[in-house]
């Protein structure tokens, strides 16, 4: 089933929580809604569920306008951030509740509840009350309750945020597998970019109620459209340097008080220098920086601290006043205060207009 937002805006009083959202989820797609806290993710989810009505615009499932359809008639399963289990019912009764409302037979209910409970491995907890469960167990009960209806769309609001690290990594895979097995639409809300990148087919990234971009994870990572996306996606985060663009003797340079780098010829194809402003932000990911011997077209930096990450090392350096992060091979060794040269992988640099914050990358044809 396709889910389509057409000019959807949601206001609370004067406050715009979701601002003119236009997006289309494909049938059977796993979509992540990613953004910082308060950017309107939950509001968007609740509009799909029918709990909130859009202030304006249309929400469609396939070609049916859903604005006025009640939540109970939408065939949706939802896990709330707070789990929202019914405290006065046992785990079994919680999971059975949607089926009871559908007036299913007792045997059928029992069969389905057992199936759903076993899928999330809580078969042994069916007689307990939610108050007697740990956060992770409650989480899985709420998943089972959403699953048991065999909904067409599953909505998950920060489902993993309260789990410990190991369980979270396991559940990530479990949920993804589940979605692929069932072939249903899944919308996952998260503020954790790793979760979004690892689980979703496509990511809708939001900020301040506005959709920033909607694309596959690789594309968001490789070609962020603006500074916000560049900053939000990637861990450790991208390094940013404020620079000025100058042209000398037919060559382009970026420079500030402490650095001056020549941009290679090929960058003219990637970036549109002719129409952009001169004040730019250069972005480069930690893995696209290397520590070298060469002094040619490199940055001069001082080691601040080295953090071993296991597989490799995260080197923090200082250039001028500001700190930057570099991924170095595990054998790299240096002490605080050592002077090093850093070269950039110019094919992987990003340039953003400082005022508009948009990338000055040319649109590919």
């Amino acid at each position: 089933m396709k889910v389509i937002f057409e000019n959807v805006t949601k206001k609370f009083g004067n406050f715009t929580a979701v601002d003119n959202l236009n997006v289309k989820f494909k049938d059977g797609e796993f979509v992540a809604l990613l953004g910082p806290s308060g950017c309107g993710k939950t509001t968007t989810l609740l509009m799909i569920a029918g709990i909130y009505k859009p202030s304006s615009g249309k929400i469609m499932f396939d070609d049916k306008v859903m604005n006025d359809v009640l939540p109970k008639n939408r065939n949706i399963g939802m896990c709330f951030q707070s789990y929202a289990l019914y405290p006065h019912m046992t785990v079994f009764e919680n999971i059975a509740f949607p089926l009871k409302l559908k007036k299913m037979s007792k045997d059928e209910i029992k069969k389905r509840v057992m199936q759903a409970a076993n899928k999330v491995e809580i078969g042994h907890l069916l007689d307990r009350k939610p108050g007697q469960l740990s956060g992770g167990q409650q989480q899985r009960v709420s998943l089972a309750r959403a699953l048991v209806k065999e909904p067409q769309i599953m909505l998950l609001d920060e489902p993993l945020s309260n789990l410990d690290a190991r369980l979270r990594i396991n559940m990530r895979a479990e949920i993804k597998k589940l979605q692929k097995d069932l072939g249903i639409n899944m919308v996952l809300v998260t503020h954790d970019q790793t979760e979004a990148l690892t689980m979703a087919d496509r990511i809708a990234i939001m900020n301040n109620g506005k959709l920033q971009d909607f694309d596959i994870p690789e594309e968001l990572y490789e070609n962020p459209k603006n500074l916000f996306i560049a900053n939000f996606i990637g861990n450790p985060p991208m390094n940013f340097i404020d620079v000025e663009l100058v042209e000398e003797e037919g060559k382009y340079f970026v420079k500030n008080e402490v650095i001056k780098l020549e941009l290679p010829e090929s960058s003219r194809e990637r970036f549109d220098f002719s129409s952009c402003s001169k004040q730019l932000v250069l972005g480069i990911r930690p893995e696209d920086l290397t520590i070298t011997e060469s002094k040619c077209n490199t940055l001069q930096a001082e080691i601040y601290v080295v953090e071993p990450l296991g597989r490799d090392k995260l080197v923090n350096v200082v250039i001028g006043e500001r700190k930057y992060k570099i991924i170095a091979p595990p054998k790299f060794n240096a002490d605080t205060g050592d002077k090093v040269n850093i070269s950039l992988n110019f094919a992987k640099i990003h340039l953003f207009d400082k005022t508009s914050e948009g990338s000055i990358r040319r649109n590919r044809v």
């Binding site: 009640l70 109970k72 939802m78 929202a84 289990l85 409302l101």
Partner: protein, 288 residues
């Protein structure tokens, strides 16, 4: 003196002080009730401190007709039943309405909601006694004068604002997520109210019910004004009539009847302390 002993002393002293204060505060009450109890079992003590001979005579109203001077009082049991009907009627109607109106005020968005909220508080602040004459006329017109139902309706009307506010406070305490989850699971509003909200509201309902029952049980002024046939009397009126003739006042009998009147109240308090503790007003304001 060892350090440990000193520490122990420091934790014990405040506790002892708390008990001392509590005992001082509650002693007069204890003495009063104790005196009442002893007097109800003693013969001929005229408000004396030390009871006289033991007797059950004062409790004779339980099994026989009571006469004071020339007045004969009818059996107390139908009157007790009337009092119970009055209190229970008030409780049931009040709970039913307050549970629905509290839900609406807490959860739904509609025009004039704020106005209604303010008006209910205003109504509550309004002294009910000032309405006595107006209510008398209204009841007369409705043909509800001298009927328990009339008193029940008046009491419910006057207490409903408070009960609604209390209920709203309890509804406010239930997270929206749980309600939303039930809508998504397939409930309509009424089903959500009945299957999800009300079960979580039991302590709140109990508290409101206790207050309603108590105030119904001890209701005097409306019952006394609106009811005049002896077969519709309640215990409060019965007690009032016992005192009616000061020259003939039988204190032993009055003590016993007063105690009898208090028994349900005391039992209620003993069994419902926990629920009463949970009463709170206002509470968190949810979205919408």
């Amino acid at each position: 003196m060892g350090l440990i002993q000193k520490d122990r002393l420091e934790t014990i002293i405040p506790r002892v002080m708390v008990y001392v204060v509590l005992v001082i505060v509650s002693l007069p009450l204890f003495i009063a009730y104790g005196w009442l109890f002893l007097n109800s079992l003693s013969d001929g003590a005229f408000g004396g401190i030390i009871p006289n001979k033991f007797t059950l005579q004062n409790w004779r109203f339980l099994w026989s007709e009571v006469r004071i001077g020339t007045t004969a009082f009818q059996s107390i049991w139908p009157i007790t039943w009337n009092t119970f009907v009055l209190a229970a009627g008030i409780t049931v109607i009040e709970i039913l309405i307050a549970a629905l109106s509290g839900f609406a005020l807490s959860r739904m968005k509609f025009a004039g909601k704020d106005l209604i909220m303010k008006l209910t508080i205003f109504l509550h602040a309004f002294p009910g006694v000032a309405l006595l004459i107006a209510l008398y006329i209204v009841l007369q017109k409705l043909n509800l004068l001298d009927k328990l139902l009339g008193v029940i309706l008046v009491k419910v009307a006057l207490e409903l604002p408070m009960a609604t506010w209390m209920m709203k406070g309890f509804f406010d305490g239930i997270p929206w997520d749980i309600e939303w989850a039930s809508y998504i699971d397939g409930c309509n509003r009424l089903q959500t109210w009945w299957k999800i909200i009300i079960p979580q509201l039991k302590p709140g309902i109990a508290a409101v019910a206790i207050f309603a029952f108590m105030s119904g049980w001890s209701e005097f002024i409306y019952a006394f004004t609106f009811i005049y046939s002896p077969e519709n009397y309640t215990l409060a009126i019965y007690l009032k009539n016992l005192i009616g003739d000061f020259k003939m006042l039988d204190y032993g009998l009055l003590c016993a009847a007063g105690l009898f009147y208090m028994i349900p109240t005391i039992l209620f308090f003993i069994f419902s302390q926990k629920s009463l503790m949970k009463v709170s007003f206002g509470g968190v304001k949810g979205p919408n």
